[in-house]
């Protein structure tokens, strides 16, 4: 019976909402802000977790770094051979990377050295790089750059090449052999891929050393044992596992979440004040209106139906608007401000797009936390008044 729609009652409810426009608009605003904030935070958290999980899958199982005097130092490549005899290690790859400061623009480029002649690199690069000239790379005279690097270089009159200055003051003229596709811009924006030999020269590193070593193991359960064996053999090495990175990210994430918890508490407090105000009673004007309506033939059921329509329209429209705005804000606008507060400005580099993940259970949870609570808060005092004798209420 209660769900049979009486369109005249519905019309009365809408008019009633409009009659108390200021009060209802204020409630609508608070409710919308609260749901929007909560939905945005949950959506960002969901997206970050999704991205984090997919990023973690691509990270090396173990990364070995060397520390001397508390600072990261290059790792002798001979250690790769020396460590390969540890049981459980499937492969070890020395990596070469660093930063090159480009003074005219005041920016750092990320420089990575690769073995260009290795088939695994050349086939992958040909897929992700436009205008790719493999010969230039193989001749150790070319580089692949991100769109951001290309733009910065072009602005400084380097259209096709760039003159690197090595730490010992020599010039290295390197041709641009390819540019990463624009859809990889966020990942490759500041990236320069160089043949290893050239990278060594530009970064000023000894060719017998690597920046770090990545280790792949046959059985992930053996990672703690393998790490222990490595660090026992080479006490100056630090092993970073996927779990370490996950915990590190999680700590940052949890710390930032605290800020939102505080923000949410303030909004929730405002919402519950409204709810408390609503449940604690109706204004004398509202009570009188209920009394009159009962006197002219409305039953308690009609009164409650009308109040239900009112609160349902208000809370549902606030809910739908908030969820729509949160979806747009988080996924279309990439959550400006909130995203930075959540992730920090550099902790999760490289930058990434918040991936779309519509969590239906989260939306249902938000709905249950807002709409039914508000409806109940509206119906309870109306029910109390409507069960009184109309004569008594009108007096």
């Amino acid at each position: 019976m209660i769900f049979k729609i009486n369109f005249l009652l519905l019309d009365y409810a809408i008019r009633s909402l409009m009659r108390r426009f200021n009060k209802n608009f204020f409630i609508f605003l608070i409710l919308s802000v609260l749901i929007f904030l909560l939905a945005s935070v949950l959506m960002i958290a969901d997206a970050i977790k999704l991205e984090l999980n997919s990023t973690l899958k691509t990270l090396p199982q173990i990364t070995l770094q060397r520390f001397i005097a508390g600072k990261q130092s290059d790792v002798p490549i001979e250690r790769v051979e020396a460590l390969l005899d540890i049981e459980g290690i499937r492969s070890m790859t020395p990596r070469l990377w660093g930063y090159y400061y480009f003074k005219p623009a005041g920016v750092n480029f990320s420089v990575v050295g690769i073995d260009a002649y290795e088939e695994q690199y050349s086939s992958t690069l040909s897929k992700v790089v436009q205008k790719f000239d493999i010969k230039l790379l193989e001749k150790e005279n070319g580089m692949i750059v991100g769109e951001g690097v290309k733009k910065v270089l072009s602005e400084n009159y380097y259209a096709d090449f760039f003159n690197f200055i090595t730490p010992d003051g020599k010039w290295k003229r390197v041709q641009i052999a390819g540019i990463f596709h624009s859809d990889l811009a966020l990942e490759s924006n500041d990236l320069i891929i160089l043949p290893k030999k050239l990278a060594y020269a530009i970064l000023g590193m000894d060719e017998s050393k690597a920046t770090d070593i990545v280790v792949h193991v046959a059985n992930v359960k053996e990672i703690p044992t393998i790490v222990q064996k490595i660090t026992t053999r080479y006490p100056d090495m630090r092993a970073i596992t996927q779990d370490d990175i996950r915990i590190s990210y999680q700590n940052i994430f949890d710390y930032k979440s605290g800020f939102f918890l505080a923000l949410f508490t303030v909004c929730a407090f405002a919402f519950f004040i409204i709810v408390y105000d609503k449940t604690s009673g109706l204004s004398s004007e509202e009570k009188r209106e209920i009394g009159i309506l009962k006197a002219v033939g409305w039953s308690s059921e009609h009164i409650l139906k009308e109040k239900f329509y009112e609160s349902f329209i208000l809370s549902l429209s606030a809910f739908l608007l908030s969820i729509s705005c949160a979806l747009f804000y988080v996924y279309a606008l990439q959550a400006p401000l909130l995203r930075n507060i959540f992730m920090g400005y550099s902790e999760l580099k490289p930058a990434f797009l918040l991936p779309f993940s519509f969590n239906f259970s989260m939306v249902v949870l938000l709905f249950l936390l807002s709409v039914p609570i508000y409806i109940a808060a509206t119906l309870i005092p109306s029910w109390r008044t409507s069960t009184l004798d109309a004569d008594e209420v009108m007096r």
Partner: protein, 221 residues
């Protein structure tokens, strides 16, 4: 049409219990026009409220159109009030921020009528009371006389069998009071049963009034 038997109603005010009605019995036939006279506080309004089902008696029986309204579930007593009874209140009891039209159609809303039927009924009631031209005005901007007409139109909009009027001329001047009395006379001719509670002497000598009953301290004299 109206049948009351040994009806008692009392109110509690602080530590004191006030007997508003004491063993009242009354029978009003269909089409009859009865005037209840008595001073303020004599129990007239309480009696009308009990007949309309707006309040419950402490004891006794209150029946309207053959149904004991005091014992009906709330849903059915509301339906009876909406479909069979038109109540004209002393203080009009209009919803101030609604227009005259919205006030008049208020009793029809639970019926979920079509818009054309709603419009037809509202128009007819408002024209009958000479207030159709003020339909869109908010009632708090209308004069006392106009508000009274809106209240009467609201009481008539459901084409009731029974009109209960509580001090209907209390807030009107003599001219408007006479216009209202003429309205009651028309209703009498239409065969509508009327119970009018008043202490206005204008009602005591009217040709169309069948009976004048006096009530004092909650009892008929």
């Amino acid at each position: 049409m109206i049948f009351l038997k040994d009806v008692c109603k009392s109110f509690v005010q602080g530590d004191e219990t006030i007997d508003a009605l004491a063993n009242i019995s009354l029978h009003v036939k269909r089409g009859e026009c009865v005037v209840l006279k008595g001073m303020s506080g004599s129990g007239k309004s309480t009696l009308l409220s009990l007949i309309a089902g707006l309040a419950q008696p402490n004891s006794g029986e209150v029946s309207v159109d053959g149904r004991e309204i005091s014992k009906l579930p709330e849903l059915f007593s509301a339906q009876l009030r909406r479909q069979k009874i038109g109540f004209i209140f002393q203080k009009f009891h209009l919803i101030p921020h609604l227009s005259a039209l919205e006030n008049v159609i208020a009793p029809l809303i639970p019926e979920n009528l079509s818009l054309s039927r709603l419009d037809e009924k509202a128009k007819s009631a408002m024209e009958q009371c000479g207030i159709a031209h003020k339909a869109q005005m908010r009632v708090n901007r209308l004069s006392g006389g106009e508000q009274q007409r809106v209240a009467i139109a609201r009481a008539l909009v459901n084409e009731p069998l029974l009109i209960l009027a509580d001090e209907p001329t209390a807030n009107l001047d003599e001219k408007l009071s006479r216009e209202l009395i003429a309205q009651f006379e028309r209703l009498k001719r239409q065969g509508i049963t009327q119970l009018i509670a008043t202490h206005d002497p204008l009602f005591f000598d009217l040709g169309f009034v069948d009976r004048v009953l006096e009530i004092k301290n909650g009892e008929f004299l």
